[in-house]
């Protein structure tokens, strides 16, 4: 969803069509919901993990940072019309990059777990 927000922001920046920034706003809101769920799971994981630290801690902190940046991005997208630009697009790109990194980190973790 955060990736979709980047594309929508980009479309708005190119076309000035308001609907794209509306799309981006809702995609970010949706992204925050799911990232929030993931954050909850990661936090539980962190508490229950046998060996704390390392990858799980890194994952949780990175997810927290992503969520917080996503929230800031949502507030920036709450500004009217072009007031959300260019900060909105830049933040969307950063958040999407973080999400990709997190996904990679998450799946890498599973493989490690499977090999155990």
């Amino acid at each position: 969803m955060f990736l979709g927000a980047v594309l929508s922001d980009f479309a708005y920046a190119q076309s000035y069509q308001i609907q794209w920034t509306n799309f981006a706003s809702w995609l970010i809101a949706g992204g925050l919901v799911f990232a929030g769920l993931a954050l909850l799971c990661a936090a539980i994981d962190l508490v229950r993990a046998e060996r704390r630290g390392g990858r799980v801690l890194l994952y949780t902190l990175l997810l927290l940072a992503t969520w917080v940046l996503g929230l800031v991005n949502a507030l920036i997208h709450g500004k009217d019309a072009w007031a959300s630009m260019p900060a909105g697009l830049v933040l969307s790109i950063i958040v999407a990059f973080l999400v990709i990194a997190l996904t990679w980190l998450g799946f890498a973790g599973i493989r490690v777990g499977g090999a155990r």
Binding site: I18, S25, L61, V72, D80, W82
Partner: protein
């Protein structure tokens, strides 16, 4: 933990910064207001009215004047009209229900702002108030017309009572002394009503009664519903009374919420609500003579040539053509009422215009929430505004009323509608 701690600290700081300083009122009234640079934190500065009942209290008026409530328990009174026999017509209602929420922000902001307004249902009617024995108490109250659609602007000219609903201009035939309309109204013309973000349709009639002027607000704060939504918006129409034919009279007026004809000159004046979310001291709402064919800036610029960066695509040609309004009333005061005075109002308030200020939301320190008097000399505003009715926002932080329409009774009274306590107030010289 360190990076996230820094991050959250940064966010708290930014949020506080957004709400913090800069609210102090600069000299913002008059022909040349000080305009600060635009500012907007992550959250807009907001203070929403905290409603409370009057409970025997009253608004404050200048020495030598008294105020009384002449009608209570109305259904959202907005504008009023004094009829030739002294009866008062009150337009009641609320419109704009069709404006959809486009962003998560709209859902949240809509809920917050609704806390500062009345929860009474829209009246969609005209109520007539009569003081049969001229003792200042309006003992007779009848429903003059009902089943209207958020009526707002009112005008009586050449035996026609014109009512600007949120979607159409309609006419009743009126005979002096009527307490009820003799039939359903005739439609003069449709008015732009798609979305209807700023739904109020202000109304004034030319002195000869041939033309009507209709104020039509923009469909957004600053084009965030898209340019296509702004066709036929943010302008004053001139409508031929006989045929209903219409054309734009002046454009770029973001939300012209009240129109009035200046006695003597016949010149059309308007109060206009300017854009939000540029900081507590931008952009001043204003009072201006409306020039035929004039462009007043919205959305591309404000107060003349101050470009609004939130609008894309921009239009430098339009910006260059934008007229600087005549008189700033202050940012976010939300002027909704306008009436020219008469000598019967007393020497100090004889020459000038009364302005009803509904009050701010986009500001930490509330502004408006009162009726001011703008003194005129030689037909032009001269001097700072004078408080005329205050006390709607009291020291305990509660808001007991919010002024909307103001009307001058030629016999010497100011009629003020209050759409929070659903009251009509009457101020008279002692």
């Amino acid at each position: 933990m360190r990076p996230s701690a820094i991050l959250s600290a940064a966010i708290v700081w930014t949020l506080l910064g957004a709400c913090g300083g800069g609210d102090i009122d600069p000299a913002q009234a008059g022909p040349a207001p000080q305009l600060p640079d635009p500012q907007r934190g992550l959250l807009p500065g907001m203070t929403i009215a905290n409603p409370a009942p009057w409970d025997g209290r009253q608004p404050t008026v200048p020495q030598g004047y008294t105020i009384s409530a002449i009608a209570t328990d109305l259904k959202i009174p907005r504008q009023t009209l004094i009829l030739p026999n002294g009866d008062i017509l009150v337009a009641e209602g609320r419109g704009g229900d069709d404006a959809p929420s486009l962003k998560p922000k709209d859902v949240i902001a809509g809920y917050i702002k609704s806390k500062g307004t009345t929860s009474v249902e829209s009246g969609n009617r005209l109520t007539l108030l009569r003081d049969g024995d001229a003792d200042g108490r309006y003992e007779q109250r009848t429903v003059f017309a009902e089943n209207l659609n958020a009526p707002y602007g009112l005008a009586l000219v050449n035996g026609g009572l014109y009512v600007a609903n949120q979607d159409a201009l309609v006419r009743f035939d009126y005979r002096t002394g009527q307490t009820r309309a003799s039939g359903p109204p005739v439609e003069v013309t449709d008015l732009p009503s798609a979305i209807n973000h700023h739904w109020t349709k202000a109304l004034a009639a030319s002195p000869d009664g041939r033309y009507l002027y209709v104020g039509i607000g923009s469909n957004s704060n600053i084009t965030e519903r898209g340019m296509a939504a702004e066709v036929d918006r943010a302008m004053v129409w001139v409508v031929e009374a006989r045929t209903g034919m219409h054309k734009p009279y002046a454009t770029g007026l973001r939300n012209p919420t009240a129109l009035a004809i200046q006695p003597g000159t016949g010149q059309l004046w308007a109060v206009v609500n300017e854009r939000d979310e540029l900081g507590p001291n931008l952009v001043p709402d204003y009072l201006t003579a409306v020039r035929e064919g004039g462009f007043y800036g919205w959305p591309y610029s404000y107060w003349g040539q101050h470009v609004d960066q939130r609008v894309r695509p921009q239009d430098p040609q339009q910006v260059a053509a934008a007229i600087v309004p005549d008189y700033a009333l202050g940012a976010h005061v939300a002027a909704l009422g306008l009436a020219f005075s008469t000598p019967a109002m007393g020497a100090e308030f004889a020459d000038g215009a009364f302005v009803g200020e509904h009050g701010s939301w986009n500001r930490e320190q509330p502004a408006g929430y009162k009726v001011v008097f703008v003194p005129f000399r030689n037909g032009r505003p001269a001097g700072p505004p004078v408080d005329f009715v205050t006390g709607f926002l009291s020291d305990d932080g509660k808001t007991r009323g919010r002024p909307v329409g103001v009307t001058v009774d030629p016999r010497g009274a100011l009629i003020v509608s209050d759409d929070l306590s659903n009251t009509v107030w009457r101020v008279i010289p002692e």
